[in-house]
């Protein structure tokens, strides 16, 4: 019984504003994850493109020489 009460206290009772609070956290999580995800994806793509371009440039230089 005491354990159940403790568990109830751990999850906060947001009362009549539950939707507003959860919506604020949900919207922020979506924006932050999108930002972090886009930054990581673009960084990985640019790293790959740079190594491809450098490899091609080295190969072309070798052919010219």
């Amino acid at each position: 019984m005491i354990g159940a009460q403790k568990q109830e206290q751990f999850v906060p009772d947001l009362g009549k504003y539950a939707f507003d609070v959860l919506a604020a956290y949900g919207v922020s999580a979506v924006f932050l994850l999108a930002l972090v995800g886009h930054s990581a994806w673009r960084s990985a793509r640019m790293k790959r493109r740079l190594s491809e371009t450098e490899a091609r440039a080295t190969k072309n230089r070798g052919q010219r020489d």
Binding site: A24, A34, R42, M46, T53
Partner: protein, 242 residues
């Protein structure tokens, strides 16, 4: 060692590479501790009820929305005065982060405003100046995308950044300039009397630290991406010229 050494792209890449994982872990930890502490382990406010938990997202994101622009201002001034490419690229890299922070501040503010003020939006001085700041961010990013020559784009966006700084400062001090708005005064102040209660203050500080660290990490990651992009373009144009 001078800060200007980081104006060299190679030095910047070498110095920031090892920093990113460390700062990333610190950012994740601070955000997790601040938000979990704020959401689960703080009481409701006697007036605002459980909506006070929105403060742990709204205040840090609003703070970063303004400070990201101020960081862009410093970087733009460095570009205009000393012509260091890394600083122009750092300003460009910070804009998408700043616009996301502004969007979070506007969205969480609107969600918080509905139960507290009875409306999602009011043409209040702080809200309006934040909306204008958001539009400046969009304009800044659009200008970078619209101009092909990178140096010209850096010049024009730097000037736009100088103009937009008026709204960044206004967003911070609008509540003090005009008193007729709905928005309350600052939640954090050097004057302890004006701060929120300690029970909300400490998790808020941790959450702010998390947002600051996240901003720094993302600026570093995105600046490195921009430097790589610039290198790709240089290699391609060299290939075409050969």
């Amino acid at each position: 060692m001078s800060i200007w050494e980081f104006a060299n792209p190679k030095r910047f890449m070498d110095a920031t590479g090892p920093l990113i994982p460390v700062l990333g872990i610190l950012a994740g930890l601070s955000l997790a501790v601040g938000l979990v502490w704020g959401f689960f382990f703080t009481p409701d406010d006697f007036r605002q009820g459980s909506t006070v938990k929105i403060i742990y997202l709204h205040v840090p994101s609003a703070l970063m929305a303004i400070n990201a622009w101020l960081m862009m201002l410093v970087a733009s001034l460095v570009w205009l005065i000393r012509r260091h490419h890394v600083s122009a690229l750092a300003a460009k890299a910070a804009a998408p982060i700043g616009v996301t922070m502004t969007l979070i501040a506007l969205a969480t503010g609107a969600i918080w405003g509905k139960p507290m003020w009875g409306t999602y939006w009011a043409w209040d001085p702080r809200l309006t100046s934040f909306l204008v700041l958001f539009l400046f961010y969009l304009g800044y990013m659009a200008l970078w995308a619209a101009i092909e020559d990178a140096d010209t784009a850096a010049d024009l966006t730097s000037v736009l950044c100088l103009v937009g700084s008026v709204f960044a400062v206004l967003s911070r001090y609008a509540v003090l300039f005009w008193n007729q708005g709905l928005h309350q005064g600052a939640s954090l102040s050097l004057d302890a009397e004006e701060n929120v209660a300690d029970v909300f203050y400490f998790p808020l500080l941790v959450s702010i630290a998390g947002f600051v660290l996240l901003f720094v990490v993302l600026v570093l990651v995105r600046t490195r991406t921009e430097i790589r992009n610039r290198r790709i373009l240089a290699l391609i144009s060299r290939e075409r010229a050969a």
